[in-house]
Symmetry: C2
């Protein structure tokens, strides 16, 4: 598994931002080929340095290759273009791969 982690900076208008996220961005993101799961969370606590981020989304793919191919796909580009439009207050992305030697089980 590989994960695309997207941290969205706290927007000026939270309600409008969340509405666009749900109604426009999410349907685009769900079309991305190879997407295995998608979660979106709000930050509700933590270090002030990271509380500048309002939403955190996690997109899972079978592998890092699948993740990177997904970003290059037309559907990935469409989702990325929407991101650049609506997340004007900024966002940051991380690509993650499991640390070797650690079971996913709790």
């Amino acid at each position: 598994m590989a994960t695309l982690l997207v941290l969205f900076r706290r927007p000026q208008d939270t309600a409008a931002f969340e509405r666009h996220y749900r109604e426009v961005h999410l349907p685009l993101a769900r079309k991305i080929p190879g997407l295995r799961s998608l979660r979106v969370d709000r930050t509700v606590g933590g270090d002030p340095a990271l509380r500048e981020y309002h939403l955190v989304s996690r997109l899972e793919f079978d592998s890092l290759e699948a993740l990177r191919a997904a970003l290059r796909s037309p559907e990935g580009q469409a989702a990325g273009n929407d991101l650049a439009q609506f997340a004007r207050d900024g966002y940051k992305i991380l690509q993650l791969e499991p640390l070797p030697g650690v079971d996913a089980a709790p």
Copy 2:
């Protein structure tokens, strides 16, 4: 579900850091009451601003209340004390809750 996201700053000695994470910190973290799943990933790409983080761990709990109770528990405190010792290069924490109105399904 609620998530504790821990971002570990890139350590000076990556191999020693990962060894301590696997051999000492993970067994402590897995004793935390109410923990439903634990994943640990390495950053392998993304924005330079976030590439200062080397590892990202995700601990899942049934609810935000369960997460916060877990942090206050003796096992949570023990894991936190170990964190303060070995993650001397720094770490940041976020507490996350699902954005209402979004299905977890892909």
